[in-house]
């Protein structure tokens, strides 16, 4: 196998596998930037996966399926927002509950949809002209769905929004110091609701990608832990949408390589690689990472009560 073929398959697969992680991570970054940890990503993704499949299957429109996936992810996130922002319950417990609830509900609703092949899948694109470029063409401009490019575009837009606009400033200040934000006239509750809802929308799309594009079928538990990787990637990206881009695709590449390299290295070790990476990231961010600690939203995980400190 020559170098070019390795490069092509690794990059191309990294993009394809990275998509659900990227969408999920971008959403979680926004929720956490506003100060709300949502461990329910796994649940929102699986609900999105089910919804996207069910709607695409019954209407024949995968685009509509993804739209509904976003909605159900958003609705599930609103539940979390209500419990954590309005009732001010523990964010971690509520998020875990949401994950379990999502997995259970999707499994229940999905009973009759199990094992059916999807007629209309989200098409893979071959970009005219660009796909002809040697190496770069097959690497970047073939076999990807619209969500790959949309996700990259979204990462850039969300970065601009977060760091270059007043809205972004409002979101960050709510996550950093809600009482100050409140005193400046920012509606903390509204901002948190919106960010958590937005996070749910993106997680829903990420899940939907799995069932209408990545592996077009519905199977119970098909997200298989991706939601938890999203949580780790959010920290790895230091709550920065552009770094999420690298994180998601780097993880995708590791995941692909763990199968590609099996012929040369012990498969047990390779299988560990992506997860080892997640643990290492968390350890670095937890231990040495003054940089990380500085960048974590100050009020992350804390409910906001007006007048309390």
């Amino acid at each position: 196998m020559d170098f070019a073929s390795w490069l092509i398959s690794t990059v191309s697969r990294a993009l394809a596998f990275g998509v659900p992680l990227l969408w999920g991570t971008l959403g979680e970054i926004y929720a956490e930037r506003a100060g709300v940890v949502n461990l329910g990503v796994e649940g929102m993704m699986i609900l999105g996966a089910f919804m996207a499949f069910a709607v695409s299957q019954s209407t024949g429109h995968p685009g509509l399926g993804l739209f509904c996936a976003a909605l159900i992810g958003g609705v599930a996130a609103l539940l979390h927002a209500f419990v954590t922002v309005t009732i001010r319950a523990n964010q971690y417990v509520s998020g875990l509950a949401l994950s379990m609830f999502g997995l259970g509900l999707a499994g229940l609703l999905g009973r009759g949809w199990e094992g059916k092949p999807l007629g209309n899948t989200l098409p893979t694109l071959t970009i005219p002209g660009l796909s002809r470029i040697p190496v770069l063409g097959p690497m970047l401009f073939q076999d990807q769905t619209i969500l790959t490019y949309l996700g990259i575009f979204l990462a850039v837009v969300l970065w601009l929004l977060l760091f270059r606009t007043r809205w972004g400033l409002a979101i960050r200040s709510v996550g950093e110091n809600p009482s100050t934000a409140d005193s400046l006239g920012i509606n903390v509750t509204l901002v948190r609701y919106l960010c958590v809802f937005f996070g749910g929308l993106l997680a829903g799309v990420g899940g939907g990608y799995l069932s209408v594009a990545y592996r077009p079928a519905w199977t119970e538990g098909m997200t298989a832990g991706m939601g938890w990787i999203v949580i780790a990637l959010t920290i790895f990206a230091a709550w920065d949408p552009l770094q999420a881009l690298w994180g998601a695709f780097f993880f995708g590449a590791l995941y692909h390589l763990s199968y590609r390299l099996q012929a040369y290295l012990a498969p047990e070790l390779l299988k560990l690689m992506p997860y080892l990476f997640a643990i290492v990231v968390l350890a670095i961010s937890g231990l040495g990472g003054a940089r990380w600690r500085r960048r974590a939203p100050g009020a992350l995980g804390l409910p906001y009560v007006r007048g309390e400190r």
Binding site: P117, R260, A263, K271
Partner: protein
């Protein structure tokens, strides 16, 4: 006195009547969700078949039971009145045995294990013959000489399947290789997908697998490559690309076992040596893309045109060879086994001498890799 006698007689008669008309209430414990489209799904399909077939049978089930908690669920089923309990995962073995000792009046049957008791039998429907037949077909269809195999765990069961498959491949295509990738999970569609993509990147052009999702079939079909379904009929996922596959009929075993209990042949006292190891000849497994379709008609011509010079049958097409081998193994007087000696492992050691077959014990503890298998092989002797 006469009256008392009459009453006593009536009581005894009623008792006998009640006993002979006794219903069986069978409880099934599944390790996965019944919607997994693999292992647990197949057991549940079988449960529904026997439930409908016999009016003296009532069945209930619990799904997605963690392996360590099987005893709790057995307690629950016993409380609900089950007198026969099936536990359908290897990991349930010790829990089932412990429960069998606690409930001597309940009949237990454990799938895929090796521990038995007076009231606990074991059963398994194995695919190795079916994989061998699929291997014959795969060997004739590959153009690159590389066949991809996505495998769950490097355990004897899966190794046996890969070896049988590879023996089939090499019988019709002695230079072909079977490239193996392990995903270390029974069910993980994303892992199965990336493993398949990795094999495609290595140049594999025909696919088989042992894991619990139709992922490999779907990914191969996207690239226009043929594959073999596993466990449940996967023809509908890719009608143009699923050539054949492995199908299971657990209901054959459940039916046989339950009828024998109903007839009083199996009791809580005589199961210590009851071990079902059912194969093609008992109809517990089937070769096919879906029931009744041994070979997808789209591939018939290619297999008929692939003619080899076979050491036993002379000039023969692979299509004919498939059915000859199938008949040899499906016939109750089995006249062929895939692991018929001489078989060499890939390190060149003779593992089955000329003219010999492997014993059941040797089959279920198989660790070596046969010639033609390429890729990592954890635990290789």
């Amino acid at each position: 006195m006469k009256r008392i006698l009459a009453v006593m007689l009536a009581v005894v008669a009623l008792g006998v009547l009640a006993f002979s008309a006794e219903k069986i209430k069978a409880g099934f414990i599944y390790v996965g969700p019944i919607g997994d489209y693999g292992w647990s799904h197949a057991h549940d399909v079988a449960r529904r078949i026997v439930d409908e077939k016999f009016d003296w049978l009532e069945t209930i089930y619990v799904e997605a039971v963690p392996e360590g908690e099987v005893e709790t669920y057995i307690d629950q089923l016993v409380r609900q009145g089950c007198n026969v309990i099936f536990t359908t995962s290897f990991g349930f073995m010790d829990g089932t045995l412990a429960a069998a000792e606690r409930y001597p009046n309940v009949i237990f049957a454990h799938c895929s294990g090796f521990k038995r008791n007076a009231n606990m039998a074991t059963y398994m429907a194995d695919f190795y013959q079916v994989y061998y037949i699929n291997g014959l077909i795969a060997g004739a269809l590959t153009k690159t000489g590389k066949i991809g195999y996505v495998a769950a765990f490097p355990i004897p069961e899966v190794k046996r399947h890969i070896n049988a498959f590879t023996i089939g491949v090499r019988e019709v295509n002695p230079k072909a290789e079977v490239h193996v990738r392990w995903i270390y999970e029974w069910f993980n569609p994303a892992a199965a997908k990336e493993a398949t993509e990795a094999l495609i990147a290595e140049g594999c052009d025909v696919f088989a697998f042992t894991e619990d999702s139709p992922t490999v079939v779907q990914v191969a079909a996207e690239k226009g490559l043929p594959s073999f379904g596993h466990y449940s009929p996967m023809y509908d996922f890719a009608p143009d690309y699923v050539v054949s596959g492995q199908l299971v009929h657990w209901e054959k075993i459940y039916e046989d076992f339950l009828v024998k209990i109903y007839n009083g042949f199996y009791t809580t006292k005589n199961l210590a040596h009851v071990d079902y190891w059912w194969l093609l000849s008992q109809g517990a497994v089937e070769v096919g893309a879906k029931p009744g379709m041994v070979i997808n008609p789209k591939y018939e011509a290619a297999l008929k045109n692939y003619v080899i010079n076979h050491p036993a049958f002379g000039k023969i097409s692979v299509y004919e060879l498939v059915f000859i081998r199938l008949n040899q193994m499906a016939d109750p007087g089995i006249t062929f086994d895939p692991f018929q000696g001489p078989v060499y492992d890939r390190k060149g050691r003779l593992v089955v001498p000329e003219g010999m077959w492997m014993s059941y014990d040797a089959l279920i503890t198989m660790e070596w890799a046969v010639e033609g298998v390429v890729g990592p092989w954890p635990g290789e002797p």
